[in-house]
Amino acid sequence: MSLAEAARRPLAADRRQVFDWITERGVYVGLAVLLIFNLAFTPRFGELDNIRLQFVQVVPVAIIALGMALVIGTRGIDLSVGSVMAISSALLANYLGYGPVVAILVGLLGGAIVGIVNGVFIAYVGIQPIVATLALLVGGRGLALVIAQGRLTEVFDPTLRILGSDRIYGVPIVVLVALAVAVIVAVAVARTTFGRYVVAIGGNPEASVVAGVPVRRTLLVVYVLCAVLAALAGIIQTARLSASDPSFVGNLIELSAITAVVVGGTPLAGGRVRILGTLAGAMLMQLIGATLISHNLPDSATRMVTALIILGAVFIQRQRGGP
């Protein structure tokens, strides 16, 4: 027994149950508390327009967090998601001349290629996920700037405007897209062999190999999925802002996405994927930002709060002693 482990062991069973409870349901409680606080103290918070805005703003983080949840479920991490957003955004702007559908497909394809590179490095070459994706975090942003020739490009396209701003029965299209993604990922996790393989690999990679799980192929698919979802987020963000700015789009979004996943109860040690928790985690992060801003605290405060929350969530998971 390592000393660190030993030091954690004496925790009374009831205390561990408390941490269990926080990991399982803490995110929903946090969300409820924030909602109540804002409804009480933030002017105009309960208005439909504001609620709609919160949902629209959370979409990129939520979509990326869903992919990240799969990656973290396999005991991995993907730091390159922000750069993938930038690449898909730059590609979208560049290929808009061929029509919006082609441009969107090229953007998604760009994401898929980054995902393949990540996946091959991690699953076949055997580089640690944090290192492989860190390389693409740096290199990918550079590539995006090269594609966009370092410029911000304004994007005027009617189709993209509809995607970015229109609503169906009052629900913004981007929110519907995110919901569709969530349903697909949830079904994949709960009802397919792929989903079972993801948690098996995260739970015990060596045992998964022995059990005949196609570990490499599954990892490759996971990283490709994560990158494609990040590319989708990049396209949505570009459509909503009517501009492609590869030096800023998706900056630090990996932090928000990872936080959303971990706060949502998916252990960083893998072996488990919680979809609803991840969505709630993303919303929690969104509301924290909104709350601080509406009470005149700067963006820098949001970042520090985010950092504290991720530390707290990981701490609680560790106290819990395994999934």
């Binding site: 030993a6 998964s208 190999v209 022995v210």
Partner: protein, 549 residues
Amino acid sequence: MQAGPVYCNDVLVRGSVEPHPATPTTPVLEVEDVTKRFAGVLALDHVSLQLQQGEVHALVGENGAGKSTLIKVLTGVYQPDEGRIRYQGEQISFARPLDAQLAGISTIYQEINLVPLLSVARNLFLGHEPTNRFGLVDERRMNREAKAILAGYGIHVDVRRPLRSLGTGVQQMVAIARAVAADHRVVIMDEPTSSLEPREVERLVDVVRRLRRDGVAVVYVSHRLEEVFRLCDRVSVLRDGRLVHTSLVADITRLELVSRMLGRAVADVARARTRFADQQHEFGDQPVLRATGLTRRHVLSDVSLEVRPGEVMGLGGLLGSGRTETVKAIYGIQPVDDGAVEVAGSQIATGSPRAALAAGIALIPQDRKSEGIIPSLSVRDNIVLAALPAMSRAGFLSDRDQDAVVARLIEQLRIKASSPDQKVGELSGGNQQKVLLARLLALNPRVLLLDDPTRGIDVGATAEIQALISKLAGEGLGIVLISSELEEVVEGADRITVLRDGAVVGTLAGEEISEEAVMTVIAAAARESMRAADDAENPARDGSTNVAG
């Protein structure tokens, strides 16, 4: 053994038992009426135990009997809910394991807890390295002293090598050397021999005897009853969290001891013990598994074996003889330089567990925890994991198919879980192993490779698993069986292929099979290889050319 008066009343035995005549003194360590609950479950139920100076005290019981909990209470990992612990006459409570260590109680755990990448010497001195006058680690002195300490245990290795480059047995000895190096009054050994080979067990026996001579009290937890009878002075039996028996080892027979552990009548135990060997298997004609010329530099050399349907093929040999590597090579997770594997006459790709599985070969790996179970997943998910492709349509799973298979296997193997949704990590070792067996059986395999399937499992589950192996062979499966207990291979196998240094050195069948015969084959091979080594040094002396290194 019984010198002087012995106060034996089946519950508490006071006084030292051993030749060196300590007068009945205060026990070194005394547990009084200790109770420990986990979430309402009684893990220890008013347990009292006394540990005398200079005695080796065996602690036995099935898995889940409370042995581990008791040890953890003794070493400060858990706090007792009720009761007292007295150490050298004074009531104490250890807030954390370090306190117990500092007080002089050291524990050697079943799993090795060392740093694999550091050198042997570093591991030995971890936390109390000798330093020079600049406060830096004095490598030379450390290496010299480490070498001397290990030599005392009969281990001669380069202490500068990283620990992980050594075999598990040697690593275990390093752990033991580390634990008893310091000045300790009580040493607790939790299954210390589970990864040792016979030669190393002998060294451990010497170490334990030396500790006893020095007046150290040893708590010896083991599933191996031979060791209890050979090495221990007293034995305490735990069952369902209660202390059901304490006596001198000399005052109890093996059969009685097993029956106390199981809480069953002696006659039942005797029957359960012979069942494994009773059954006569009928073999098919054509081998269901044929491995030819499996070779891997420094690991395996030209290993070939055949298993017929209905046959249990035992792999004999010492730890490190290449048994595990052989089954891993057949299964495709041990890379080979050369060799072929055939299932029912058709060759399969080597180096791919998926190909092996598709051909009907399934493996229970030696290390259940690291290569077997997925602790975070449920019993159900663990059982169906390997069979998922067969239970899905276009990648989508059918609950009905899964539940049917899982329910059948849980019942067939008598897996004790609160529900199929319980996490496997929460089950006892025996039930985890049954879950792994269920995973293999869900595949309807033709060949089972079982690498030490009863390792670290309680007596009851062992008997069940052995009976199951026999039954599966009866149903026509080909089985390759490895066991760290020679007795188990001898009882269970129809044929035994004996390995040494990664090569086949003999085969025994039918009436030839006995523990003695296997050891004779190994010993003969050892003599031969020594002669071969001599010849290699003096090649001019005779004309023999075919000399293995």
